[in-house]
Symmetry: C14
Subunit: 93 residues, 14 copies
């Protein structure tokens, strides 16, 4: 296996693992936040405006960590500086 | 094993692992959100409109992380830039 | 082991792992949702219509992540682009 | 070890792991659902019709993920396209 | 180690692991179901008919996943298509 | 290491692991069932007949999964078809 | 390492692991059962006859799974059919 | 594999793992903080100003640890001193 | 490494692991049983005779599983049939 | 792989793992501290000054452990004494 | 590495692991027992004689499993039959 | 890889792991201590002096274990006796 | 690597692991015991004499298991019979 | 890698792991003890003298296990008998 394919394999594996593993935490955290929001709504229907607003700010904050992972994953697949360097060095393979 | 098959094997393994592992978190989170929604409905049937709406927004948010994983998995199988590059370099094998 | 069998082995292993692991989360999540639905029904029998409807929407949502995994698994067994490419390159072996 | 036995070994291992691991989640989930159904019945014997009906729908839903795994396992043992291809290529060994 | 023994070893290992691992989930789930049934009986002795009936349906459902694993295990030991094919190819060894 | 000893080693390891691992679940499940039975008896001594009967049915059901594992283990030690085949092929070693 | 010592090593390792791992579950389960029995006795001293009887039946049932493991372990050390076969084949070494 | 690709592979793997693993903790922690904020709001709607302010300070603090990981990951991809040194040493490869 | 030392090493490792791992379960179980006995005594000092008696029977039962492991460990060190056989085959080395 | 790249690879891997793993604990701990602060505020709005002050001292203390990890990570990337020594020994590579 | 050092290494590793791992369970169990004893004393100071006596019997019982591990560890270091045999076979090395 | 780089690699890896892993425990422990302090303050605002003092003593005590790890890590990077010895032995490399 | 250094490495590794791992259990157990003692003191300040005495006996008992590990660790570093034997066999190296 | 560096590497790795892992337990235990002390103070401010005294004795006891690990770690870095022996055997390298 030469350099080029080594880097390709590492990028592929890493992109998948980053996305899947990086979504575990945000998904669970969002599930927890939504679940508590529902409990809170059932307990105090009058405060639904404040609760909904706080929930959405929180979900956006949590989703941001999932976005970080997705961004790193996309960079590794479509804008990988190491791959670009190696390609530029290979003369028609 | 030459470069081409190495990349193919990595893509196959990664596609499967990304989807299956990436669905673990969202599934559990959705289960939790739905479960609390049901508890909330039983506690406060009058607030069912607010609860259902919040639940659906939350489920959509959580499902989005599962979608990220599915998208990465599909990219790795059907639109893999590394595989395309290697194929384009191989003259009829 | 040549390229062809390597890809076959990876596809087989990955199909099985994707399905079995990908069903773990949805199964547990559905179990949780159903369990809470039953508790909710016992607590508030009058709201059974809303509870049942919310439960079914939630189960469909959770089942969808299991379906993603099953679809990826079927693609890897019966419509694997890497396998098809390798087969098309092998002249009667 | 040649290609043929490699694929056979992978199929055997994968069939077993898929079934055994894939049954873990559904079994635990069904146990949870049945357990809550029993608690609910003890709490609210009058709602036994609704509870039993919801329980059976839920169990069917959960069982479906176990069925996916069993189906993949049976496909790998008795209708494996990779094995069939390799067999068709081997002239009486 | 030739092909034949490789397949035999894989079948032996897989049969054992499938049965033992596949029994973990059902056993725990049945323990949970039985435990809740007993609690329910102590709480509501009058509903013992409904509770017992629901318990038995649930146990049968859970046991079915253990049966799947046992069946796959028996197929791998006594009706293994890969082993049969290899045996049929070996001329008295 | 030749074929024969390979199969023997796999059978030995598998027999032990199957029994020991396969007893983990049933033991814990029975412990749970017995524990709840005792709690139920202390709570509702009058229902001891129903409780004891349900406990014994449940224990038998759980024990059955331990029996499956023990049976597979005994088959692998004393009635192993792969070992028998290999022995029949070896002319006095 | 020749066949004989391979089988001996596998038997030794397996005997130890089977006993030690197989005792984990029963020990924890018995601890749970005894603990609940003590709580039940403190709660309902009058039912001590029924509680003690049920406890002993349960302990016997749980101990049986530990016995299975111990039996398999003893078979592997003192009545191992694979070892006996290999010894019978070795002419004084 | 020469030095250059070794460093590239290590950087790729490390960037992905750092981001995905480093987001697990912050995501869960933010989920917890948001969840408690919602419970607190439902309990004491009058203190919503103090609660919201404390929540945002806390989220910023927690997000900072996710930012550390993202920064390290970006440094490893786009400003890696080891990679730069190796590139500067390689004369046109 | 020849046969003899291989068996010696396996016996040493296994003796240690069996004892240490096999003591984990019983120790935790006894701790639980003793802890509950103390709670029970504090709750119902009058039933101390029954509680103490049941505790001792339970501790003996749990200790028995630790004894199994210790016995297997001692057999492996001081009465190992495989070691004895190998020693008897080695003519003064 | 020569010495220089070995040290580079170790530094890269270690920097990433140190930051990501070292942020897990502080993130979870801060999440817990913030969550309890919010609960405390909802319970005792009058003590918000003391609570906020104690919270900030605590967060600073916890953040300090995350800072230790980030510092070690930065030292390994930008001020690594081992790398500097090796570079100083290499005459223009 | 010859036989002698192999056995020495195995004995050293095993002695350490046996003691450290074997102390985990008893330490936790004793901590639990002592903790409950203290709770019980605070609840029922009059029963301190019975509680203290039961606690000491329990601690002795639990300590015994730690002693087993320590004994096996000491046997492996200072009275190892396998080491003694190998030493007696080595003529001054 | 010669001795020098081996020691360098081990020091780098160990410094990172020691700091990151060693901060896990203290961070979680401080989070717990701070959380309880906040609960205590909300419950008993009058005792805030005693609570704050005890909290700071406790945090200092816990932080000390994190300091131990940081110190060991710094010793391994900047005052490593093994590295110094090897450097002193290498004549200008 | 010759025998001597092999034994040295095993002793070093084992001494560290034994102490660090062997301190995990006692530390947690003592933490639990101290925590309950404090709760008990707050609940029943009058029984502080009995509580303190029982706590100290319990701590001594738990500390003893940590001492076992420390002793084994010291024996392995400073009074290792295997190392002494090997040293005595090596004539000035 | 010769003997000397092997021992150096083992000492470095072991020193780091011993300190970091050995601090996990004490840190968590101290966190628990401090947390309970704070709860106790909030519950019973009058007993603060006894609580503080018992807390400090307990913290000292728990810290002692962390000290053991730190001592072993320092011995391995600065007073390692195996390293000293090897250095004394190497004539200026």
């Amino acid at each position: 296996m030469d350099n080029m394919s080594m880097i390709a394999v590492a990028s592929i594996l890493c992109a998948g693992v980053t996305t899947s593993f990086g979504c575990l935490g945000p998904a669970l955290a969002e599930g927890r936040a939504v679940a508590t929001a529902l409990t809170a709504l059932a307990q105090q229907p009058d405060a639904s405006a404040t609760i909904t607003r706080t929930l959405f700010v929180g979900l956006a904050m949590i989703e941001s960590t999932a976005i970080y992972c997705f961004v790193v994953s996309m960079i590794l697949i479509f804008a990988n500086p190491f791959w670009n360097y190696v390609i530029s060095q290979t003369p028609g393979k």
